[in-house]
């Protein structure tokens, strides 16, 4: 059995206690261990993605228990893609955290960061719904600590809201799992997928409740209207590197929706049909609209980026809720783009904040390093709004194209295009307020200009923008890969057979073959 699959979970789980126990008072060692660990994660994730790229699905049985009885970790194209994206994002965000000194403004930043990565990797790799719940909790516990890192009562207040909202979501998740278990008697995704098809239309009440509850839970994670209220405050008040890492957290919700609603409740399943198109799509369009109107309405840069994240999640969910292979491929392309862009924008908030008293969108004296910051903001804003030449434009084109021959085309095109204009106005206003009008404001008498942010902090943002550039230039091969990924998701039979038919302990003995 191939043990590499479980390593993205195990490695941070070992490093985090090591950082707490052995390197508690040595920030240098913590940084070195953290960077080395994340680099190793990238190498492992790249290896796994390479292994999965030809369509092989690799399976890891914990303690060698066979699938419906034990927990399995499954690496297919989608999982390894998300793991690789998380690892790359984590490295760049960590570089910024070190460069800007955020990791020294409170205790245990690096340990919590590793635990957060452990939860994220586990959530992407697991093939069991209850295990997904457990990894959600792992990443949430770590995120509570990271969210209130370096304290302050405004941040703590936002932290309380964030924790309470997510506790409610966890409770809802347990209700969903309880009803799913009551209806099917299993929580392994592949096993549930097989059993769901056996449920007749007359006895489908329980399974329908379970499907809707699960969708609600993942919608909270993905911040879909009307379940998005936790996001603006917590993302705006969280430390900038943490908010940048949280850019992947909303994608966990999107990932879970893609995974569960292609394998367990596929769109052609009779008992849950209509859930995606009739309910998810209007909610996604509303999310897009509210996010982009929020961009226009807010008065602070960090809130503006938080609403832009909601808007881009709306875009992702519009593509997902169409539930065709083309639209899932488009949404995967957009997920990568949106994660990198949101992270870059949150890190830019920190760079702007370094020379200003606050992030209010009002003219203030120009800050040190403003030209470079402004240029990076310009690029990131172009990407987020979805103007050519960066990948936001291509992602939006792919989504529009995927929607073009569906009956809901008019709605999708109208909302996506008009909200792009709204976002364009919002970001133009923010950028000109922050960087152009600043030139007309005099520096107050005797005020020392703030120090320029360190080069490492710029390297992180520059790296994210460079990745966006690569995502644009290599759009052809990447989109081909996403199409193959979506194809694998929509023909779920190999996944189910791989999980259920691989022998392990407790397997039913197959004729003519000795099992252990």
């Amino acid at each position: 059995m191939n043990h590499w699959i479980v390593l993205p979970v195990v490695l941070p789980a070992i490093l985090a206690p090591f950082i707490v126990l052995a390197a508690r008072y040595h920030i240098g060692i913590q940084r070195a261990v953290s960077i080395a660990g994340i680099s190793a994660l990238i190498a492992i994730a790249a290896g796994l993605a390479w292994q999965a790229s030809d369509g092989t699905i690799t399976l890891y049985r914990l303690s060698d228990w066979a699938a419906p009885f034990g927990i399995v970790v499954v690496a297919d194209r989608l999982s390894t893609l998300m793991v690789l994206l998380t690892a790359v994002l984590a490295l760049l965000v960590m570089l910024h955290a070190i460069g800007s000194g955020w990791d020294t403004r409170g205790r245990h930043f690096h340990a919590l960061y590793q635990f957060q990565l452990m939860g994220l990797m586990g959530a992407f790799l697991t093939g069991d719904l209850f295990n997904l719940f457990v990894f959600f909790e792992v990443l949430l516990i770590a995120s509570y600590g990271l969210m209130i890192h370096s304290g302050g009562h405004v941040r703590l207040r936002a932290g309380v809201q964030y924790v309470l909202y997510n506790l409610l979501a966890s409770t809802l998740f347990l209700f969903a799992l309880g009803s799913l278990y009551a209806a099917t008697g299993s929580l392994n995704m592949a096993d549930v997928a097989e059993r769901v098809t056996l449920i007749g239309a007359d006895a489908s009440a329980g399974i329908r409740i379970a499907a809707v509850l699960l969708l609600l839970v993942f919608a909270i994670k993905a911040a879909i209207v009307p379940l998005h209220f936790w996001l603006p405050s917590s993302y705006a008040e969280a430390p900038a590197p943490v908010a940048a890492l949280f850019a992947i957290m909303t994608k966990v919700g999107a990932y879970a929706i893609i995974r569960v609603y292609t394998i367990v409740f596929p769109p052609d399943l009779a008992v849950t049909s209509g859930l995606q198109g009739d309910w998810l799509l209007p909610a996604a369009l509303a999310t897009l609209a509210i996010g982009m109107f929020g961009v226009l309405a807010v008065r602070k840069l960090d809130r503006l980026v938080a609403y832009a994240v909601i808007g881009s999640m709306g875009m992702v969910m519009v593509a997902i809720s169409l539930f065709t292979p083309e639209s899932i491929a488009a949404s995967l392309y957009y997920i990568v783009h949106s994660t990198l862009t949101a992270a870059a924008l949150f890190l830019l908030c920190d760079l702007v904040r370094a020379g200003r008293a606050d992030l209010v969108l009002a003219p203030r004296p120009p800050v040190a390093g403003a030209p470079l910051t402004a240029a990076l903001f310009f690029a990131a804003a172009i990407a987020m709004v979805g103007l050519p030449p960066l990948s936001g434009f291509l992602g939006k084109l792919l989504i529009l194209d995927a929607a073009s021959d569906t009956p809901r085309m008019v709605w999708v095109w109208a909302v996506v295009l008009s909200m792009s204009l709204v976002a364009l106005v919002g970001f133009s206003r923010a950028g000109s307020m922050l960087f152009w009008k600043a030139r007309s404001v005099e520096q107050p008498e005797g005020a020392e200009p703030a120090a320029r942010p360190s080069a490492l902090a710029y390297v992180a943002v520059g790296g994210l923008i460079a990745l966006l550039g690569a995502h644009t230039v290599l759009a052809g091969p990447i989109h081909d890969y996403m199409t193959r990924t979506a194809g694998q998701l929509f023909s779920s039979e190999p996944y189910i057979r791989k999980v259920l038919d691989t022998p392990g302990k407790m397997s039913a003995p197959s004729p003519g073959k000795e099992t252990h």
């Binding site: 209850f130 457990v134 909790e137 516990i141 509570y144 209130i148 304290g151 302050g152 009562h153 405004v154 703590l156 207040r157 936002a158 932290g159 309380v160 809201q161 924790v163 309470l164 506790l167 409610l168 966890s170 409770t171 347990l174 209700f175 799992l177 309880g178 009803s179 278990y181 009551a182 405050s233 008065r299 602070k300 606050d358 209010v360 969108l361 009002a362 003219p363 203030r364």
Partner: protein
């Protein structure tokens, strides 16, 4: 017994939801606890209610109770217990720092300072 368990879950959930919708930290955390109790009983009942049946294989026993929900409930109890402790600590920190225990956002401070300083 089904009626007793079902109505207990329903009452706990209703009370929990009501408390969670309050604006002060303490009732909200109480409501969260009630909700987690409700979900624990619900999970327990999701494997069907059986009385006096063993959960593991034994000689001479015909009917069994489902052992998996019991394991799930254990996990859920541990997690919700830890989470409640975390939220109590964070809420205490927010209360001591801001000197009030409201859960909702304070009125926006940027509203006045958002104007042109000149």
């Amino acid at each position: 017994m089904e009626f007793l368990v079902a109505s207990a879950i329903g009452v706990l959930t209703a009370a929990g939801v009501y408390m969670v919708l309050r604006l002060r930290t303490f009732p909200v955390i109480m409501g969260m606890s009630l909700l987690t109790y409700a979900v624990n009983v619900f999970l327990f009942a999701s494997g069907r209610l059986t009385i006096g049946a063993p959960p593991i294989l034994m000689k001479g026993v015909e009917s069994y109770t489902d052992p998996l929900p019991q394991a799930l409930v254990l996990t859920a109890i541990v997690i919700s217990f830890g989470m409640t402790a975390v939220v109590v600590m964070i809420a205490l920190g927010a209360y001591l720092g801001a000197d009030d225990d409201y859960v909702n956002d304070p009125p926006e401070v940027g509203a006045e300072t958002g104007e042109d300083p000149r």
